[in-house]
Amino acid sequence: MKISLFLGCLVPNRYPGIEKATGICLEYLGIDWKELEGASCCPAPGVFRSFDEPTWLALASRNITLSETDERDVLTICNGCYGSLADANLKLKNNSLLKEQTNSHLSQIGRHFDGTIDVRHIIEFLYSEIGVQKIKEKIVRPLDLKVAVHYGCHMLKPSSSRATDSVERPSVFDELVEALGCTSVDYPDKMECCGAGGGVRSALGETALAITEHKLGKIEEAGVDCIVEACPFCHMQFDAGQVSLAGKGREFGIPVIHYSQLLALSLGYSAEAVGIDLNEMDCSDFCNLLGK
C-alpha cells in the first residue's frame, strides 16, 4: 500500500504537531509514504463547494492528479480534506460530463484526471490496512487515559459516499483509541458536530461556539482526561474554542489531541515532541500527567 500524505491547510499552518506526529506514526508502522508535494487547499468543502462546484472540483482534482502521477492513494488526516477529496474523486469517477468539464479546466495546466486512485482517511486507513491487533502489538507505552472520542461529521457522512460501519453508532475510532490502552468514555451527543463546519466558524463564529459549548458541556460531565479527534478543524474548534469560552467565563480545561498525536504518545514519544504543548489552550497539566 503506497500513499501520499495530503497535509491540507490547518495541519501544516496551525497545528504542525499533527504533521510531525503523523510522519512518526507512518514511519513506525512501516508504511510506504511521502508527502504530496505542491498540494493546495483541498479546497474546504463548506465554503468553496458552497460558492461554486466547478471550482471546487477543479482544485480538488488537481490535488488528486498529483497523487495519480505518483500512483499512490491519497491519505487525509482531516475530515474536511477527506470530505472534499473523497466526494470530488467519486463524483468525477461516476459522472463523465463532470469529468469532461473538469478536465477541460485541468488542461490549462497540463493535467488530466484519470480516476485511478482512492482517497483515504487515516482512521479508516489504519483500521483496515494495519488493524487494531497489529497496532496493539506495536505500542510501547499503553496510555491509561479516559478519552472522549469525537468522530466529527465528514469521516462518516454522507454515508452514500463513505465505506462506514455505522453513522449513528460507529466503533472503528473507539477501537483504535482503546488499542492504545485508553478507555473510550461514552457521552450524550457523541456523534454531534463540533460547530465549525459548513463555513459557520469562519463567518458566524458565535453560532459555531454555541454548538461547541454544548458539546464540551456533555464531555465535561463524562469526566475525561482529553478529547481525541481525527480532524484539525474540530481540533481547532475545541482548542481555540475553549480559549474563547474561557474569555467569557466558561472554563473547561479539556486538552484536545489528534489521533496521530495519541498514537505517537503510545509509541513512546513525548507530548512536546508531537506539539501537544503548542495547542492554543494550556495543556501543561496534561503534559505533566503523561510525563509521569
Binding site: P16, G38, A39, S40, P45, S50, D52, P54, C153, A203
Partner: protein, 162 residues
C-alpha cells in the same frame, strides 16, 4: 454561469418536493438547537419560492449531514442547501468573512495560510519552516491561480484574480 443549477433543478435533483414537513431534520440539527436555523422551514422555502436564496439561516448549516442521513423521504437536504448557497453566491450574496477566505485561497492557495507564529512552531518541532505544499512550490501556486482563473472564481467572489 455554467455549472450553476437553477432553483428548479435543485428541487428536482434533490427530491425537495417529497418533503412531508415531519421535522426529523430540525430535531437532528445541532445548529438549530443554538441558532435560528430551522431546516424543516428552509426545505419548504426551497421547494416553494426563491426566498431561500436570501435567507440568512442558509449559512448557519454546519453540513453535518444528520438531517440528510435521517430524512425518511430520502431528501438530500445538505446537498440541496449547498446548491442553493451556490445560486446565492452567484447572485453576489456572500458573507464578508467568506469573501475574505476566498481571497486568501486566491492569493496563497491555502484558505488558512502560514504566519510567523506558526513558522516558529514548525521549526520548534524540527519541521521545515514552510510545508511541502504550494507554500514551498511557486510553480504549483501559479497552476492553482491559473485554474481559479479558468473557472472564473474571482468574478464569482468579487476578489482579485491574481
Amino acid at each position: 454561469m455554467a455549472g450553476t443549477p437553477s432553483i428548479e433543478e435543485v428541487i428536482e435533483d434533490f427530491n425537495v418536493l417529497k418533503c412531508m414537513q415531519c421535522g426529523v431534520c430540525s430535531g437532528s440539527c445541532p445548529s438549530g438547537r443554538q441558532a435560528s436555523l430551522n431546516v424543516r422551514r428552509l426545505v419548504r422555502k426551497i421547494g416553494k419560492d426563491h426566498t431561500a436564496i436570501s435567507d440568512e439561516t442558509l449559512w448557519m448549516c454546519t453540513t453535518c449531514y444528520n438531517c440528510q442521513e435521517r430524512c425518511p423521504r430520502g431528501i438530500a437536504i445538505v446537498d440541496a442547501i449547498l446548491a442553493v448557497r451556490s445560486i446565492a453566491a452567484h447572485e453576489g450574496l456572500i458573507l464578508e468573512r467568506h469573501r475574505h477566505v476566498a481571497n486568501l485561497l486566491q492569493e496563497h492557495g491555502h484558505a488558512v495560510p502560514i504566519d510567523d507564529t506558526h513558522r516558529e512552531k514548525r521549526m520548534q518541532l524540527g519541521l521545515n519552516s514552510l510545508p511541502s505544499t504550494v507554500h514551498s512550490h511557486p510553480d504549483a501556486l501559479k497552476d492553482v491561480k491559473r485554474l481559479l482563473a479558468s473557472c472564473g472564481f474571482g468574478e464569482i467572489t468579487g476578489g482579485e484574480e491574481q
